[in-house]
Symmetry: C2
Amino acid sequence: MPKIDPWGSSSISNYQHVFSEFGLSQFPESMRKQLKHRFFQRNIVIAHRDFEKVLQRIKSRKRFINITGIASSGQYHLGHKADIDLFKFFKSQGAINYFCVCDLDAYASRPKIKTLQDAKEIAVQNAADALALGLGERDIYVQSNKEKEYYCFAFELGKKITASTFEAIYGHLDLGKVSANLLQYADILHGQLPSYSGKMPSITGIGLDQDPHARAVRDLAKRLPCNLEVPSFIYFRHQSGLKEGSKMSSSEPDTAIFLNDSEADVKRKIANCFTGGRNTAEEQRKLGGKPEICKKYEIDLFHLESDAKLRDIFEKCKSGERLCGECKQLTAAYLSKFLKQHQAKAKKSMPKAKKIVFG
Amino acid sequence: MPKIDPWGSSSISNYQHVFSEFGLSQFPESMRKQLKHRFFQRNIVIAHRDFEKVLQRIKSRKRFINITGIASSGQYHLGHKADIDLFKFFKSQGAINYFCVCDLDAYASRPKIKTLQDAKEIAVQNAADALALGLGERDIYVQSNKEKEYYCFAFELGKKITASTFEAIYGHLDLGKVSANLLQYADILHGQLPSYSGKMPSITGIGLDQDPHARAVRDLAKRLPCNLEVPSFIYFRHQSGLKEGSKMSSSEPDTAIFLNDSEADVKRKIANCFTGGRNTAEEQRKLGGKPEICKKYEIDLFHLESDAKLRDIFEKCKSGERLCGECKQLTAAYLSKFLKQHQAKAKKSMPKAKKIVFG
């Protein structure tokens, strides 16, 4: 049996074509060693654009901007928790923090959100989750409750991008989505304006599928008259849904574990998720499981903090010592425990969340 | 000699094709009689969309919204004074006033304005002029210094208009101009939001060439979830430049009288303007002049408040009693006197204007 790494680095080879196609740099081992977080140790962060600038700031204890946004289109799930965990890591490294709850963007670009008021109500839930996950009140902002400089900046950006560039990048020209994108560009860049934190490197963690946004905003930063640092990005490996070939999706609740799921939800979803297990228990004991393609193991890889426990899960699976049913119970148990505590914290955070959204 | 009206109503026949093509209603005599302002008496307002609603509010002494905006792309000229004079008339009729100094719009849509700061500096001059022309501090706002609800509303509107609609209306799809238009729609409509003045009829005076904007925003008002009154519009007849066939243009200063022009500027511009005068003084004395095509007479028609004086200018021109040179001196004199007083008021208004723009 070939040596397989429980941190899944082998699967990064799947992304080589993406790197070369889009000019992304593979996240190097030398940087990985300097960043004490499971996302770096476990090869969950696989690529970057200009991360050197940010690493330099961390090492020299200088400030940098930590900016991430999540659209308020529904309840947060574990994929969003991963975004926030990464955000918290950069916060711990001395960043100036801008966590954006994107209600205006979600409303402008998504037909399912009928009014801005609906988006704001989702935003309250989202902000409560972000607070419960460990962000501070001052780390979070909501697009619909910002300073006038921010909105003016978003409108300014419209002058610097052409319709044909937009169509070339995104393949469409929906004016609601144009508005949403201008807001996203403003989110990434506004922290560098003089009335915010001033010019400095910034870091944003995104999925590979969001790279068109990253390229657009980096290009924009170079063309603005106000002299901004080109923002840096790091890229998560793909987070898949719980079913084979699925994506996590708010519109198909059983493809993801949501932060407001009950213990029963978690048990059911994990029990039904795709593991790639063998046809029979006997076969599994003999050949071992396939954590590399197991959706439950992906959750462990992203969210189980203990390296020792993760290694134990991996090894007992590969060796055939522990079968999928037992393994699922173990993951469902720690997730349920985490979610129960999280939900209590989120409930307590509601007054602060309302203040963030409604002022 | 056929009877010709000094108020120029005969020239309205030139616009009949525009009315029928775009579905505009000619401004009726019955309404004209009820509105005591030279713009109505002299057929300067030639068409409307849904003005009945506003007239009804005026007659029943109910409030309505008076909203007009001018892009901060340069110094105001007499064309802008006409917009503000009409705005003042509706203010006197009991309106709730929203006069917009459009700095963000001007910056987003015009390549010649390089930074938002440049647009804001023009906005200070514009606001000072508006104050000097008789608007109050509370009647004026600047796009870059608004409440967050206004900006959010502008972004919301992006969801309700498609790129193809936009291209069909305007014949282009420049994202800076899209941003500028979303702001203009927000300007026209935001006064009706609950956090502003609430749902009610609104009136905006525009040039015929701006009708595509009017149609777009009226269409938008019908499709918004927030239930707004469809805004009403009235249309000025075309205000031409000082030279034959010219438009008033900030980039060609001698085509217009600017509110900051010196007495020497006014004298020179009026002396050089197109009058349609005859080849010789003798011929002019015999045949009379042509006020219908005279650019100076157009200024008198729009800006000379005294009906008696205007009639005198018209009759002495038509009869050949007064030649163009003397007639030009007369207009240059009253304009210079007006501008001198205006400029003193505008200078005094600068601190208030700065407060409006920079808060």
